[in-house]
């Protein structure tokens, strides 16, 4: 180890990160001409302005793993290609999907949200009436509780970062605090739950504790500045910060205030956790603290040995990320990663660390801590007490094995 080393196998200090260059020399070229020759594309005017911009034709970044249940076209998932993105915002076109009977084409002028049940005044709201209410906007993650579940398989699935962890996206969500609407309806004494129902053909339904609805729940109308897109619940969805994505019911249509949960098919047949003792745990709502290295990861090749940037995302349903550690020796030693400037509660947080790769095989992991003191567990601890095949709410650490040729692969340590 030199003075810049922070942990084993070439992990460098924060100071080194802020100073480090591609000091191995690779990729740096001496300049002589000073850009005197015009490039080919500078000889004629370029493309005009337009009413709507598009990504570069040289960057073909799409959702991954679009898959539907047999016999259906709209019951399945698509995943965010985490390894192709930077920063914390997920472009809306790449936000993951999990639909139970496809994306309904809702007429916004005809759609109503009804609040009924244990309330003084059953009410219904259309988009025009909601536009009069105060809104809040916050940058927060949404994660399917089945995300990363492939890591519960007995043997490592040969897949990439987005394939394994891409049921996680991060957006600016804007809308009306649900507490305002419930207050207006007048919640009756004895109310404890709210049954949220979607306007899709599956009538996706979940039971949400009233306390969450009165805390930070949103009736979301906007995502990343614009109206929700159809795949994210247009014209309105529930958004429950930090909780399993399925509860943030899309195409939200009714909220029934009750004194008990409804035990819907979507919270009993799915999204419950089967223990090794054969007992299922219901209603495990907050998503645990988690992190994953997005680069390097499978599909992104390292070049020659030298200094590289290790980068990834960390997030927690418990609040802000406080710390992320990275290991380059399979978990034997750890170095603190640097967190980006924006560390927001219940938001994906970007971390990075500099790594001097010696060109030999190495195993990279990351481990996140949140402000509640929760620590991301290793794989064994994350599996403890689970029945085989129980894959929801998995938040164990992810290891990538870097091969001598610069490729990488999902491994267990």
């Amino acid at each position: 180890m030199t003075g810049d080393d922070a942990a084993g196998n070439g992990l460098l200090s924060r100071r080194a990160l802020l100073k480090v260059s591609a000091a191995g020399g690779a990729g740096l070229l001496a300049a002589s001409a000073g850009g005197a020759e015009r490039d080919a594309w500078m000889h004629a005017p370029g493309a005009p302005m337009s009413e709507s911009g598009a990504p570069s034709i040289h960057e073909d970044v799409r959702r991954l793993g679009v898959a539907s249940a047999p016999g259906t076209t709209g019951t399945g998932v698509s995943r965010t290609p985490l390894e192709r993105l930077e920063g914390i915002i997920t472009p809306s076109r790449l936000h993951f999907e999990r639909h139970h009977s496809g994306i309904p084409d809702i007429d916004p002028a005809a759609h109503r949200l009804v609040i009924h049940g244990l309330v003084e005044r059953p009410l219904q709201f259309d988009l025009d009436s909601l536009a009069r209410y105060p809104t809040v906007s916050r940058i927060q993650f949404l994660e399917c509780s089945g995300n990363s579940g492939a890591l519960t398989a007995p043997n490592p699935v040969p897949a990439g970062c987005g394939d394994l962890h891409g049921l996680l996206s991060n957006s600016e969500w804007g809308g009306v605090p649900l507490a305002l609407l419930l207050d207006e309806a007048g919640v009756k004494p004895g109310a404890k739950w709210v049954i949220a129902t979607g306007g899709d053909a599956a009538v996706m339904s979940r039971s949400v504790p009233l306390a969450k609805c009165l805390d930070d729940a949103l009736l979301a109308l906007y995502q990343n500045g614009e109206r929700l897109r159809p795949a994210n619940g247009y014209p309105m969805r529930l958004f429950l910060p930090g909780w399993e994505g399925n509860m943030s019911v899309k195409w939200l249509r009714t909220l029934m205030v009750t004194d008990q949960p409804a035990m819907t098919k979507d919270e009993t047949s799915k999204y419950s956790d089967l223990g090794a003792d054969g007992r299922a745990t219901l209603f495990t709502f907050p998503m645990g603290v988690k992190s994953v290295i997005t680069s390097p990861s499978p599909g992104l090749m390292l070049g020659p040995k030298g200094v590289y940037r290790i980068s990834g995302l960390a997030w927690s349903g418990g609040g802000r990320i406080r710390r992320v550690e990275v290991s380059a020796d399979g978990g034997a030693t750890w170095a603190d990663a640097v967190l980006d400037e924006h560390v927001l509660p219940r938001s994906a947080t970007r971390f990075q660390v500099a790594w001097r790769w010696d060109g030999r095989p190495a195993t990279l992991l990351s481990r996140a801590y949140d402000e509640t003191g929760a620590v991301q567990p290793g794989r064994s601890a994350a599996l403890a007490g689970r029945a085989p095949g129980s894959f929801y709410h998995y938040n164990g650490t992810q290891a990538w094995r870097i091969r001598a040729d610069g490729s990488s692969v999902n491994v267990y340590v």
Copy 2:
């Protein structure tokens, strides 16, 4: 005034905002059926998952005022439709444009950034070498120095919020701190400026003080999570937080370190400020503190009298927004608006306030303060000392006149 009033003509307090409903009664409907009947779109499965999502067909939101200089197709602007957006992120497809000779189609594999001039080691960088450097990501605004210039016209232009102020967008910008690359090249003593040149056919060039380049300047590679789009400088651009947009040179190709500015055509024929005394001021880089009410605004109709949400954006090249005031009586009295949770430095910041509209004509204004103590001026103060036709760096307050029919129009007060 009642106990909830915070200023004249119906502006309500923060407490009222957090409690207020559409208390006038408009838009609220008693619910009886409780959503028992399925809507038409719930009778069959909806659309499948896909590799790339799109906005709703029911929301046709586009850039405004796409216009090019006579005889050209790529020398002009397009504007962000601010009145159609919420929160602080501008969707990348709606980011404003200001091009000087169109959008070049740059081959990312062939593109190089050259750093030369007063440096120890002239260097060039390609995308692969830059991928090894540490990055930062920050949510910050970009504003053309000509934004809002229409308000310098002798008579109010009958135009909307985006038409007048839409050369302002806000994004998460990610990339390599320019200081790292300059440090690697080794800036020589005596260096004071950096001449930045773009790879478009206009070879757009600006002189940037070295101090800014060593402070918070970015070599931006990512916008809102994905690679820069062509209209925003793909594959790389300069990004100078808080400074006039033109200096954040797109399609960045060369940085020449010098001891003096280059006095390029783009900083002499344009983007300088002509005073009433006939003298021009060069190099007025930071954008002033500014705000605008996005809703209500022209094109967005109010319904019947009652309580409405006034919402808008504030931003400053000086740092964080500290306070925004709103007036509903043409500037006679002012009430504090509520700022959203995310108040980030040199970022657009959302503000809102509740307003009890009595159905009579009213004049709305907003006024922003930043953390340096700077205050957005009124129109007269903003025009003081300017030559007629000098329209850059205009940051005066914007007044909307609300008519009895619920429409609104740009006025001067």
